[in-house]
Symmetry: C2
Subunit: 344 residues, 2 copies
């Protein structure tokens, strides 16, 4: 069957058929608006992201299943950065007439697998035909108690700056796809070709199938341990700059503290250039950056372990504005760019 | 200044600068997610629509101010169809690099004027560059008491079928723009050229700057007068079919009861074809279709007057499935198509 045979309402029914009911969903897909109920006493968290073919993804790189997962993951990541509990999502798709129905089925399967993993219910959306590539627009809603919600604006001078996971993997995965870096398939630096492939697969999966740090973000917020939080979508420097600006502070990031994955190091080891550009300013890691009083240090380490993710301090919030990155020898490291931004 | 000089975050700041706080908005634009509070006891209503250049609009037809208004209006219309109170919206824009900044300023001005008229606050969104035309994605949220929310599924056999306003105006406006109908500028049927122009302007404004029936939808719901409701975006027949299907009923629509505007009649009078195709299956009127027990008839007429809009019964809900349109002589009128649908 083709999309043209199925039609707009057929496509909606096909997607809706795979959606189960969820927390607080009174009326899901199929009416003029979805009806949902927040937990009494909770506030609503709302975020939205748009993904465009040949801007945010390429069909030659992104298989539909992982593209579906990522479309929701980047939104869940925003709820995580507020310390919230993700609940509901809408999915709007503008679809080129020649896109195979199999692609849409796999995309939906991926989207709904990510939804299930995080307790999110698809409650509505919009579908239309596109003349120019696939367009995906997702809005996510979540909830949290007002006093537990973590904003970008709460960082205080003297707080430690933390990040979850490892940084730069997604940027290195993108560089691999773009051919900017081409590590030898023959092995390098004593590393076998097989180990190289495993490293590359890891970096690619970090780009193509990112894991939103939902449990970490929510746990940190509910434990009341953090003062400000953001998800790292444009690179650590650019995203921490948002925290600094909204909190009226600055920060110093220690270059040697930035967490790098073994795969990142293995690929970086054969490159002539500094790996830190990717780690500091590469987008799409979807890790969390947060700030917390030093007194909370041990509790945070323990909580992150409980969430199955590493969390490491990478610097200190300063009263002086501006974000500086400092090398072990005390010199300042100046990234070539601060992070990804559209239009410029 | 150009969009490229302004950059992504400059564009967001430029839009945010014109947004005032609103009902229940705790944190608006500028964090990972917006934070809002529903009125205690209310449920959340969510709907979303995507508008694509050269699919839903053309820049040669749609001036940016009215395009901004319409982008939000079509979403407010969905909340109205549930009997809800519109509250918050997110706006995602994918913008071609060569789009003048003036265009975006006017678009935003239009969007925010519609927002103000309906008490809606812009709480977030996403902006990115587009390689292929302007893309607009809006999600709207509203609220209502659970027992007052009106769904598509509540129509009962014997209920009257009502519509607000007049039908087919937007479709006739589109036909004027497309050149499918070209009424003479010299006047027709004794009507002066000036009156013709006024009629055409009315029809065009119905297409380009539709008025969502927010007060009517909310008032009908809060008065508990209606059993089912939908907004007419794809044509009365297609949209009433949704009510019929979800309610497990059918309906008979009386052709001579379908409300037509003087402008519609004036343009239709010079056409050789039946005007009812536009009135019954033309999209984008954004009027409301609803069903109600006959006992509520007088109260509905009065309430509609109070809302400053006409509401007229156009048919009867039947236990027999299927939607039939009947001419005054008792014969069945078969529309050429049931309404607009994507992909087919």
């Amino acid at each position: 069957m083709k999309l043209g045979d199925l039609g707009e309402f057929g496509l909606i029914s096909r997607i809706a058929a795979n959606v189960a009911g969820g927390n607080g969903v009174i009326t899901g897909i199929g009416d003029d608006a979805a009806v949902t109920a927040l937990t009494p006493g909770m506030q609503l968290l709302t975020s939205t992201d748009m993904l465009l073919e040949d801007v945010h993804f390429r069909l030659s790189w992104h298989d539909p299943y992982r593209l579906g997962r990522k479309s929701l993951a980047v939104n869940i990541s925003d709820i995580a950065a507020m310390g919230g509990i993700p609940l509901w999502a809408t999915l709007s798709l503008a679809v080129p007439a020649n896109l195979p129905l199999d692609f849409l089925d796999e995309f939906t399967r991926g989207f709904l697998s990510m939804a299930r993993e995080h307790g999110v219910t698809l409650i509505g959306g919009d579908t239309c035909s596109s003349r120019n590539g696939l367009i995906i627009s997702v809005t996510i809603m979540g909830e949290q108690h007002p006093e537990l919600i973590v904003r970008r604006s709460g960082a205080r001078s003297g707080d430690e700056i933390w990040v979850t996971g490892t940084l730069g993997d997604a940027a290195q995965g993108l560089a691999l796809l773009e051919g900017t870096i081409t590590p030898s398939r023959q092995g390098r630096g004593g590393v076998s070709g097989e180990a190289c492939d495993a490293a590359e697969q890891f970096l690619l999966s970090r780009l193509l199938d990112p894991t939103p740090r939902a449990a970490a973000g929510r746990s940190l917020a509910e434990a009341g341990l953090v003062s400000a939080m953001i998800d790292i979508s444009d690179g650590l420097v650019a995203d921490f700059e948002h925290i600094a600006e909204l909190s009226g502070v600055g920060g110093t990031i220690r270059l040697d503290a930035v967490p790098l994955s073994p795969a990142f190091r293995s690929v970086a080891s054969v490159l002539p250039t500094s790996p830190y550009q990717h780690a500091l300013t590469g987008g799409e890691d979807y890790e969390l950056a947060f700030t917390a009083p030093p007194a909370n240090h041990e509790k945070i380490v323990k909580l992150m372990k409980k969430c199955g993710i590493d969390g490491v301090p990478v610097g200190i919030v300063t009263s002086l504005p501006g974000v500086r990155v400092v090398a072990p020898d005390g010199t300042e490291y100046i990234p070539q760019s601060h992070g990804f931004t559209h239009f410029t």
